[in-house]
């Protein structure tokens, strides 16, 4: 009986550890995406102020795609977190 409880606890701990690794990985990716977006906003603004409006539309599209990536990762984090908390 004690062994079974210990195995269950280990299983729970292992599941939580996997969830933690997944969440940390996703969070790191979101941080990298955000840094790319900050650079992109800066570059687009510089191009716009210099009168090069051709760079504005691709900048907005790419920024939107990166945001969708962040959103997907956020949903992934929430799902993993929910699963890790399941009794």
């Amino acid at each position: 009986m004690a062994n079974l409880e210990r195995d269950m606890a280990n299983l729970e701990r292992s599941r939580q550890r996997r969830g933690l690794v997944a969440i940390s990985g996703a969070m790191t990716l979101v941080v990298i995406f955000l840094i790319v977006q900050i650079w992109l906003l800066n570059a687009t603004l510089e191009a716009f102020l210099a009168g090069h409006t051709g760079a504005v539309l691709p900048g907005a599209i790419f920024s939107g795609l990166v945001f969708l990536g962040c959103l997907a990762l956020d949903l992934f984090v929430m799902r993993v977190d929910r699963e890790s908390r399941k009794p």
Partner: protein
């Protein structure tokens, strides 16, 4: 100690809005990721704002203002004036006998006032050693990210008129 914070039987909203101050101040990875995603949305909105400004903003109209008389300044001489408003300081340069050019005096790096160096034949920003070409205002050296905004000039008899700003 649990690897994930409070794997309790409480519903998520009770975890998030705890009655304990210390618990409330604790930022989980999930909350931090949500904050980053919101920041990402902010960046996207910023890009959209630039897009709207670039394609839908009305082109500004500039007044026509007399800035100098022909021959008023010597060759390789300068005259300072303000255009289009009293707060926008500009510099007029007589590059040769018949050639006049004018630029905004505000450096595109950190807005220090640029001056004309006749010896080096360039516009110089004394703050961070940014140099601009007299010919077209392009950056020759230094930290400025963009060329100087150029004032469009027109001749009206013996007068020199400022009629617009390019690259502002």
């Amino acid at each position: 100690m649990p690897l994930l914070r409070s794997p309790s039987k409480e519903p998520l909203w009770k975890d998030e809005f705890s009655v304990f101050t210390s618990d409330e101040r604790y930022v989980t990875r999930r909350q931090f990721t949500q904050f980053l995603t919101l920041a990402s949305l902010g960046m996207f909105v910023g890009n959209l704002w630039i897009l709207v400004k670039a394609y839908f903003a009305k082109a500004p109209s500039f007044p026509s203002v007399a800035v100098a008389e022909m021959g008023e300044i010597p060759v390789r001489g300068v005259k300072l004036f303000t255009y289009p408003t009293e707060r926008d300081h500009c510099i007029l340069i007589r590059a040769s006998e018949e050639e006049y050019v004018a630029y905004s005096q505000k450096c595109t790096h950190l807005s220090c006032a640029v001056y004309f160096s006749a010896k080096e034949d360039r516009l110089e920003c004394p703050c961070h050693r940014g140099f601009f070409s007299v010919k077209d205002g392009s950056v020759l050296q230094g930290p400025p990210p963009r060329p100087l905004p150029r004032i469009t000039l027109e001749r009206d008899g013996a007068r020199l008129l400022a009629v617009g700003v390019k690259g502002s």
